[in-house]
């Protein structure tokens, strides 16, 4: 349920990278708000700044200038450590390449996040069961990622991203490695679960289908916001 509370406020963000003698501007004076409970699709061509924007929102990267407020907290003023702890507690990530830990079972991949957040073992196990049931992988809890299909791996990644009930879920091309049918399944699941948990989700995507499922679509070009359209 989208409400009018601003969950994320981006003000005049800029970010550039130095490559040799060249300076690549990736984000340019970008400002935007994201509201509690909404799902926003970030669209744009490769290199338009989608992934960088997700990285600076999550605190993985820091902007050169500008300000990011999440639930009223200025994360650009935080130290690297505080940003990491903030990310650990409040943000869930879903990647295009799944990025599951290959040496851990499905259940342990999810438990990893719960343990980082110091969730009690019994509570953690209950949560893992609940999530694996929700993503339809209850019977694969002891499997290792390399024996799962792409769709199954992404479902585990979704469960992991939601395990600690984050305020914000960031998904970077979550269906980029999946076929259309599987992508549909994964998207429905991700959308449903985030809504159930009441979180805000930002999805970087090229896919029109993904965008169509979102509450709002932001269009990026050369690091600038060129369109902001709300569905329905």
């Amino acid at each position: 349920m989208v409400n009018s509370n601003v969950q994320i406020r981006l003000s005049h963000l800029s970010r550039s990278f130095q490559e040799g003698a060249q300076q690549h501007v990736v984000l340019q004076d970008l400002s935007a708000n994201f509201y509690e409970g909404e799902t926003v699709a970030l669209r744009g061509r490769s290199g338009s700044g989608k992934s960088t924007l997700l990285n600076v929102i999550s605190g993985i990267d820091a902007p050169d200038s500008g300000r990011i407020e999440i639930a009223g907290l200025d994360i650009t003023a935080m130290s690297e450590r505080d940003r990491t702890l903030f990310r650990r507690l409040h943000i869930g990530f879903v990647y295009q390449a799944f990025n599951l830990v290959p040496t851990l079972t499905v259940a342990d991949n999810i438990r990893l996040v719960l343990q980082l957040n110091k969730v009690e073992d019994a509570e953690g196990s209950r949560r893992i069961r609940e999530l694996l049931t929700a993503v339809g992988l209850a019977d694969r809890r002891h499997s290792y990622p390399d024996v799962l299909s792409g769709g199954e791996q992404q479902r585990v990644a979704i469960a992991r991203a939601l395990a600690h009930r984050p305020r914000i879920v960031l998904a970077d091309e979550p269906t980029g490695n999946l076929d259309d049918d599987t992508a549909d399944d994964v998207l429905s699941l991700l959308g449903d679960l985030v809504r159930q948990e009441g979180g805000t989700m930002i999805v970087a995507t090229h896919s029109a289908k993904v965008a169509a499922r979102s509450d709002r679509v932001l269009e990026l070009q050369n690091g600038q916001l060129i369109a902001d359209s709300r569905h329905g």
Binding site: I60, R81, V101, P102, D108
Partner: protein
């Protein structure tokens, strides 16, 4: 176990070969340290136990020069001085059935408060019972020995046997066995006899080797004894006397420890290599963990914990292996100590908890240290950066100048320490390790430059594949750099040690060749030659001249001095190479003015030179002797004072001769002269004769024997290096599985890919070898000019045999090629699709 650690260790368990090789590297490094420590401490402890057993409860000892203490002094102290806590001792070495045993000649009546095992039957710890007590005193040659030696010699109580002392045979009778619960091992090679028998056997009638004294703590007692002592006789603390003997071997043992540390240093580089690879290979995983919220500190702790776990397991196995290896090395160490310093018979391996702890802590510490750098690096990854290999390579390249500068700083620090640290061996070793570290840090920048230059040449002659092979080394410098450094350090150690040992061997060979001028050398084991016999030998047909020598120890409160007394023969002293004086003037003052010469080690240790004076304890009291010159000598690292027979006779009135050099007349055959000597010595003294050639060979054999342990440690270090190379190559090629899969996918055949991987491994080996040569020569220079000098006082020229350099190149290239075979096979046989998917 927390899931985080499960994720980390799961990776290690999924790569058992890498894990096994890393553990083996740590294990051998630790094993060498523990083994050397066990061998050193067992030898030292055996010697101390033996000395303590022989010294018994004596707090002090009265000693004199080569002739020993006059027996009258003992009588005087006991009767006139009323001293009861003193005991006379005559000691020396004899041979029984080819086995060397130490004789302890005692006066049982004076022994009561000194040694329990020589006491009559008055208590449970007694050795002599009432029936044997009488025999001990009345039967000449009555002997007590340990039951172990009796069994070894096949002797039963009551059985007669023969002992040989100074080439003469004497009858002996076994009347009982010694028992001492606390020191049975120390008694293993000791014969206890009545003092009169010992005096007879060692030709010391009227003299004692020493008088043992038990003094109360107050200084007055010592002063009252000192007042009674004639000149040339000293009252020394038993403990400091034992210590001064054991200190002779300290430098030798320190060098062995340094060798073992070198093995651990190589091991540390290899551990660093393994952990670095493990981090590099998991940069994706680390990136994910960082994105999930793992802080830098937690990432650091994770990598260090992983290194520590590796260290603990490797060190535990290393400690166990070290105990076994220590037992094997003990024989070599005790043999070298026997050859070079003092007699020691080691029957027990002493495994002290401290030795094990030191090895364990060194292993875990080295691993922790080695894991620290990659852990810092991993914790510094920004999550998205950790996923990009190109960024990693750029970052590595950016760091190269700083790493090289740090290396230069370490080398500069070493070069500052060297001149400022005087004669400190520990500082010398620290400087050597800093130089190794400094040079190692400069290797990556050299590798980058060389491989970039080589890529152009390779491309011109070998096409795109050759260019790819060579460029791959600098393109993957974050991984190849570490492997090359580890291999180069290991190979440089082989160059350094080989050049040092070879230079030393050449110097000793020249010195022996120069020193041994006589045609035949004659002596008796553990004693002096019969003067009559010496005169008869000099009269034999075919003998032109003889030279004579005598070796004595002079003891003073500040330490022991070894003095070699020479009597020149016709060809003169040409065999003595003077280092700082003109021959003619030196020998004139040596013969006529009572001046002495000092060996190079003596001059170094005592900071004296030509023109200085040294004080020696003579029967006429302490006398100052002018030093006429310093001479080259490699025979004893505690140093020797060379004195003419004329000077010696003037102060000591001792005519004993330990050995003679026989110079043959023109045309005389050494075999026939030796045969004649054998004939005239029959029934008088059994002579030990060696031709010039035999003695040279024997001397070199002893030299080689002392380096056997160095060789063993050297090969262990090489073993650690080869294990490391294998691990590095395996990790390096596995890490590039995706790159290889792409090459296969775009059309490279398995054979081409396999060849490329093998050649690249060989190129890495070649680069390591090339880097190892200057580092090895630098190490050789430090070993020769600093470590050897500070340990033993010797100086020698560095001799670089090209074969060592070629061997080092062949070793590194060959080992890397061999190590590259399996990864090449894996790369060639991997299914491209699977490899790309796994990535």
């Amino acid at each position: 176990m927390p899931v985080l650690y499960k994720a980390s260790f799961g990776y290690l368990l999924r790569h058992p070969w890498q894990l096994g090789l890393a553990l083996l590297g740590i294990c051998i490094g630790v094993a060498v340290i523990v083994a050397v420590d066990i061998a050193n401490s067992s030898s030292r402890k055996a010697f101390l136990l033996s000395m303590n057993t022989i010294n018994g409860e004596a707090s002090h000892q009265i000693v004199a020069g080569p002739g020993g203490v006059d027996e009258e002094l003992y009588v005087h102290l006991r009767v006139a001085g009323g001293m009861r806590n003193i005991a006379p001792i005559v000691t020396g070495y004899v041979s029984v059935d080819g086995q060397t045993l130490q004789v302890l000649g005692v006066d049982v009546f004076a022994e009561r408060t000194f040694r329990a095992y020589t006491q009559p039957a008055t208590g449970r710890r007694s050795t002599l019972n009432e029936s044997t007590f009488g025999e001990f005193l009345t039967k000449p040659g009555a002997v007590l020995m340990s039951s172990a030696v009796a069994t070894k010699l096949g002797l039963a109580i009551g059985e007669d046997f023969t002992i040989t002392s100074a080439g003469r045979d004497y009858p002996a009778l076994l009347i009982g066995t010694t028992q001492s619960s606390s020191s049975s091992a120390a008694l293993a090679n000791i014969l206890v006899v009545d003092i009169a028998s010992a005096q007879h056997w060692f030709d010391k009638i009227g003299h004692l080797s020493r008088i043992d004294v038990r003094l109360p703590a107050d200084q007055g007692a010592a002063a009252s004894i000192l007042a009674e002592l004639p000149p040339g006789t000293e009252l020394l603390s038993a403990e400091s006397r034992t210590r001064s003997i054991t200190e002779m071997s300290t430098a030798f043992m320190t060098n062995l420890t340094a060798m073992s540390l070198l093995a651990l240093l190589i091991g540390t580089f290899l551990i660093y290599n393994s952990v670095s690879f493990a981090v590099l290979q998991r940069r994706g995983l680390i990136g994910v963990l960082r994105a999930l919220g793992l802080t830098r500190r937690e990432t650091f702790s994770l990598i260090v914990a992983e290194g520590a776990a590796l260290g603990i397991v490797g060190a535990l196995f290393g400690v166990l292996l070290g105990v076994w290896l220590g037992e094997q090395l003990l024989l070599l160490v005790s043999q070298s100590i026997n050859d070079l310093y003092f007699r020691v018979t080691v029957t027990n391996v002493t495994v002290s908890p401290l030795s094990l702890l030191v090895g364990f802590v060194a292993g875990v510490g080295a691993t922790g240290l080695a894991a620290m750098v990659p852990a810092i690096e991993a914790s510094g990854y920004r999550p998205q950066l950790s996923l990009a290999r190109s960024v990693l390579e750029r970052r590595t390249r950016r760091l190269l100048p700083s790493i090289a500068l740090a290396g230069l700083a370490a080398a500069a620090l070493a070069l500052i320490i060297l001149p400022l640290s005087g004669t400190s061996l520990v500082a010398g070793l620290t400087a050597m390790f800093l130089l190794i570290l400094g040079f190692a840090l400069c290797i990556p920048v050299m590798v980058d430059t060389v491989s970039r230059l080589a890529a152009g040449v390779a491309g011109r002659f070998g096409g795109a594949t050759a260019r790819l092979t060579v460029r791959g080394v600098s393109a993957s410098l974050s991984r190849t750099g570490v492997a090359i450094v580890a291999l180069a350090v290991a190979v440089s150690a082989t160059v350094g040690v080989s050049v040092m040992v070879d230079s030393f061997r050449l110097a000793v060979n020249d010195w022996i060749g120069n020193s041994l001028r006589a045609d035949i050398y004659v002596g008796v084991p553990g004693g002096s030659l019969d003067p009559e016999l010496v005169r008869d030998i000099a009269q034999l047909p075919g003998v032109a001249e003889i030279s004579s020598s005598r070796r004595i120890w002079l003891e003073m409160p500040q330490g022991r001095t070894r003095v070699l007394i020479l009597n020149r023969a016709g060809p003169g002293y040409g065999g003595v190479e003077l280092l700082d004086a003109e021959a003619e003037e030196t020998w004139r003052s040596f013969e006529a003015d009572g001046a002495v010469l000092v060996s190079e080690p003596y001059a170094y240790r005592n900071a004296v030179a030509r023109g200085s004076t040294l004080s020696l304890n003579t029967p006429l009291g302490p006398q100052a002797f002018n030093i006429a010159a310093t001479y080259r000598s490699y025979d004893a690292n505690q140093g020797t004072v060379l004195m003419s027979r004329t000077t010696y006779r003037r102060y000591w009135h001792d005519e004993a001769i330990d050995s003679i050099g026989v110079y043959l007349a023109a045309g005389a055959a050494s075999q026939s002269v030796m045969e004649r000597m054998r004939e005239i010595s029959k029934g008088r003294q059994s002579l030990l004769m060696r031709s010039n050639r035999e003695l040279r060979d024997l001397s070199l054999q002893i030299f080689d024997r002392t380096f056997v342990i160095t060789d063993v440690l050297y090969w262990l270090a090489v073993g650690v290096a080869i294990i490391g190379i294998l691990g590095s190559m395996l990790a390096l090629q596995l890490e590039r599985a995706r790159e290889f899969a792409i090459l296969r996918a775009i059309g490279m055949t398995p054979w081409q890919l396999g060849s490329m991987v093998t050649l690249q491994s060989g190129f890495i080996g070649l680069l390591s070898g090339l880097a190892a040569l200057p580092l090895g020569l630098l190490m050789a220079w430090v070993l020769i000019d600093v470590i050897n000098r500070r340990s033993f006082g010797w100086q020698m020229d560095m001799s670089i045999a090209p074969s060592f350099l070629l061997t080092a190149l062949a070793l590194s290239t060959g080992a890397a090629l061999m190590a590259g075979l399996y990864p090449a096979y894996r790369a060639a046989s991997a299914r491209p699709a699977l490899a790309m998917r796994e990535e």
